[in-house]
């Protein structure tokens, strides 16, 4: 009975309309590089003040899911991730577009995003309370070990060009140290500038490294188009992936949804880390796929299913404990409180009808966004056949607007421009920007975890760092990851030498 009343409530016109508005708004925000899901939810929040709580929360969570999904469109089309969570999608997605398989990439991204989103909604629906206890097990030592494990991803990402990859990652770590030191309040590498005291923004850096650098590369060939061949047979538009495509990505989608779902419940990590971690694991498991990194649908599927899987799971600790699992979820926390709902166990008992209606609405929104996205995707391929000279202008304008919109200040725009130039030079010199982005995300997490462990340790710090089963497991995984990356690199160079 209760189940039926929840479903009936989701299907009322007001709630469906709110969902539709959220999905469409999210698709627009996500598809524009630099306009983040945080910004979208924050902008929409005052609009929901006058609504009933269910409509408001359905609208905001739908927008969150759709924005994270739509971030893949420009990533695939233009190598300009619409949200920073889609940066990993750009690698294989853009390569597919160049090969005339834009529609295939969008189809896979849609399918994977929907799968990841639905998976996370089910997590939220079925096992939110016990899962939230897992997120509490993560203290400073666990976060440090998780960050270290994340950093070992660079070893796999950089395979084939280990030295340059490690240099790029180290530079990212170094950049992440700029700004006020949290523990002492000391301004590091700020040189008396208030802007630098606030640190170097991660999102403007990603926009620069991926989007602006792409515009600069396109400047070299102003009269060409992104897609330089005819649309292939596999690149024709169709609503659902073929049976063969699903067979190829099935395992990747499941694994990546799990990874994204897990990363999402941790308060310190969201879609950015989730998508890179899943991309890396997919790469490790696709050793025999020569296309990986050069236009493999597995790469697109990994990143897209993982980042959408973080959306629902980020709400697990939010709803059960009042602890947001991502920056966007933090704004949703404000929304809950404004609408008079206190996060915590009562949401699943006293207010169960509200909570389950919102979750089911969120689940449905994930399906709706897939259909609308595919409908729009059908016409988006045109962009890949426009001359670069037009696209350059569009990308530059969106990059500047996106960077400015983050905090309404020019500093973020200058940061974006500096990283655009850096990204261009790096890509010309065969340095991948991906390890740098990872270094910038994980550096602060590693540093904070380590320094808090030093403060909290009663005996030797090492024992404190390895003081729980979770951190020991993560340490072992890190070691394994480093050894396997080193071994693979060794085998690869040996094979190359034998061949050459």
């Amino acid at each position: 009975m209760e189940v039926l009343s929840v479903i009936a409530d989701v299907l009322t016109p007001a709630h469906l309309l709110a969902m539709l508005a959220g999905v469409v708004g999210g698709l627009c925000i996500g598809a524009l590089p630099g306009l983040t899901s945080n910004l979208g939810v924050a902008l929409l929040l005052p609009v929901t003040f006058g609504m009933d709580p269910i409509s408001a929360l359905i609208m905001l969570t739908s927008l969150y899911a759709a924005a994270i999904y739509a971030g893949s469109f420009p990533a695939i089309l233009l190598h300009t991730p619409g949200t920073s969570a889609s940066a990993a999608t750009a690698i294989d997605g853009f390569a597919l577009t160049r090969k005339g398989e834009f529609n295939k990439a969008i189809r896979i991204a849609t399918f994977s995003s929907v799968c990841g989103g639905v998976f996370s909604a089910l997590m939220l629906l079925v096992i939110a309370p016990p899962l939230s206890l897992l997120s509490l097990k993560f203290g400073p030592p666990e976060y440090f070990m998780l960050a270290v494990f994340g950093l070992t991803i660079i070893g796999t990402l950089a395979s084939g060009n280990m030295i340059k990859g490690l240099m790029s990652g180290a530079a990212g770590l170094a950049i992440s140290t700029v700004g006020l030191d949290l523990d002492s309040g000391f301004p590091r590498f700020a040189f008396g500038s208030t802007d630098l005291q606030g640190g170097i923004g991660f999102v403007p850096a990603v926009i620069g490294l991926f989007s602006l650098s792409q515009a600069l590369l396109m400047c070299e060939e102003p009269h060409r188009t992104i897609q330089q061949v005819k649309v292939t047979a596999g690149g024709q538009w169709r609503l659902f992936p073929t049976r063969d495509e699903i067979r190829q990505i099935r395992a990747t989608v499941m694994r990546s949804s799990l990874i994204g779902g897990f990363i999402g419940i941790l308060p310190g990590a969201g879609g950015d880390i989730g998508s890179w971690a899943a991309y890396n694991e997919a790469k490790r498991f696709s050793r025999n796929d020569p296309d990986f990194g050069k236009g493999s649908i597995r790469g697109v599927a990994a990143s897209e299913s993982a980042n959408n899987a973080t959306t629902g799971s980020a709400m697990v600790p939010l709803l059960t404990l009042g602890i947001p699992g991502s920056p966007t979820a933090a704004i949703l926390l404000g929304a809950l409180i404004i609408h008079g709902l206190q996060p915590g166990r009562t949401l699943f008992t006293v207010h169960a009808h509200f909570t389950y209606t919102v979750i089911v609405g969120f689940l449905l929104a994930n399906l709706v966004m897939g259909f609308i996205g595919m409908g729009l995707g059908r016409y988006m391929g045109v962009v890949a056949r426009l001359p670069n000279s037009i696209l350059i202008a569009v990308v530059v304008v969106l990059s500047v607007v996106g960077a400015f919109s983050l905090g309404n200040n020019m500093y973020d725009v200058y940061t974006m421009m500096a990283f655009g130039l850096l990204g261009y030079l790096m890509r010309k010199g065969n340095f991948s920007p991906a390890p740098m982005v990872l270094g910038m995300i994980l550096g602060p997490m590693a540093e904070q975890g380590f320094r808090q462990s030093v403060i909290l340790a009663d005996g030797p710090v090492v024992l404190h760092l390895l003081g729980s089963p979770i951190s020991i497991t993560l340490a072992a995984l890190s070691l394994l990851s480093i050894v396997s990356a080193g071994y693979l690199e060794f085998k690869r160079t040996k094979a190359a030498r034998a061949a050459g």
């Binding site: 945080n38 910004l39 939810v41 924050a42 902008l43 929040l45 005052p46 003040f49 997120s135 509490l136 097990k137 993560f138 203290g139 400073p140 006020l180 949290l182 523990d183 002492s184 309040g185 000391f186 301004p187 008396g192 208030t194 802007d195 005291q197 606030g198 923004g201 308060p267 310190g268 600790p317 404990l321 009042g322 602890i323 947001p324 933090a330 704004i331 926390l333 404000g334 409180i337 404004i338 008079g340 206190q342 996060p343 915590g344 166990r345 009562t346 983050l406 905090g407 309404n408 200040n409 500093y411 973020d412 904070q448 808090q452 403060i455 909290l456 009663d458």
Partner: protein, 321 residues
């Protein structure tokens, strides 16, 4: 209510008229004759932003002109405050001052902003949010005294969270240390949710935060209050003891108010104070603030300037700046 509004408006209008006749700038006679910009020195969706958007909506109703919230984030708030300080002092650009977050930027010699409190005209305080110490429900600390005693007997063993050097929680901890001789292990986090999860997970022993940030968990029974650092018991935490009621005379809070650039004409200042006071004291606005667990606290004009100055002196002493 309506009568009250009319009286105040009429009074304000008379004041303005008198000033205009007395040779005040005629261009300002009909302030406001266009929309206002409200600068929020932090990103969209944060605590200050949400309160600002509530205020902006209600202020529009009183002034009859649009009030646009502009988030200017960065530099620990100083990108926004710098913009506010350098705006034209005509009453059309107003912004939030956050106490004590604003002090570090110019008091800490390492950071060296050239603006000071004198760069702003303080208008009115909006909300106050007291610091509160809480522990996990099953903590061995039953009272504030238990915690202080242990931190005195075994210095540097009791762990407690804070959010930034010179932030309200950090200042509160320093004040407790100075008053009692206790010594804590201070764990600095970027945000309260991180601290909350560390406290609930048992990674740190004591959670220092603001009342609005933990009222829910206290109600649910996940966290227990050791002491609220306010003069009166908090309405949001019924039955929770204050520091004062346990013999520790220490206050700490975080407050947000409105200011304009320095040099605001007196007549415009009075109009702004009157309009904002009317908004903040309205029943409707108070109810909305209550749902956010925020306590509206009106401190006007010269009193607000003194409040800011007093807080500045306190932080200087605690931080040795």
């Amino acid at each position: 209510m309506t009568l009250n509004r009319r009286v105040i408006l009429t009074a304000a209008a008379c004041f303005a008229g008198a000033f205009a006749l007395a040779g005040g700038s005629p261009a300002l006679a009909q302030y406001p004759d266009k929309g206002l910009t409200l600068i929020v020195p932090y990103g969209a969706g944060g605590g200050t932003d949400i309160t600002a958007r509530l205020l902006a909506k209600d202020l529009e109703g009183v002034l009859g002109k649009p009030v646009t919230v502009q988030n200017i984030a960065g530099g620990g708030g100083w990108t926004g405050w710098g913009t506010l300080a350098s705006a034209k002092p005509d009453g059309y650009t107003i912004g939030y001052l956050n106490v004590p977050a604003i002090y570090a930027g110019y008091l800490d010699p390492k950071l060296g902003r050239k603006e000071t409190l004198e760069s702003f005209t303080p208008i009115i305080n909006h909300v106050i949010d007291h610091v509160v110490l809480t522990v996990k429900a099953d903590s061995k600390f039953k009272t504030l005294k238990d915690m202080v005693d242990e931190a005195k007997a075994k210095p540097n063993t009791v762990s407690i969270t804070a959010h930034g050097v010179g932030g309200d929680e950090h200042l509160a901890i320093l004040a407790i240390e100075a008053a009692t001789g206790a010594k804590f292990r201070v764990v600095q986090n970027k945000s309260t949710p991180e601290s909350k999860s560390q406290a609930l997970g048992g990674h740190v022993q004591v959670l220092a935060s603001n009342v609005s940030e933990i009222a829910t968990e206290v109600k649910a029974g996940d966290l227990r209050v050791l002491g609220v650092m306010s003069e009166e018991p908090s309405g949001f935490l019924p039955g929770a003891p204050t520091f004062k009621s346990q013999g520790f005379n220490i206050l700490a809070s975080n407050s947000r108010g409105i200011a304009t650039p320095a040099g605001l004409p007196k007549d415009v200042e009075q109009k702004l104070v009157a309009a904002l006071e009317k908004v903040i004291l309205s029943k409707d606005h108070q109810q909305k603030a209550e749902t956010l667990f925020l306590e509206p606290r009106v401190i006007r004009g010269a009193d607000y300037a003194k409040f800011l100055k007093d807080n500045e002196q306190d932080i200087k002493k605690l931080m040795n700046w």
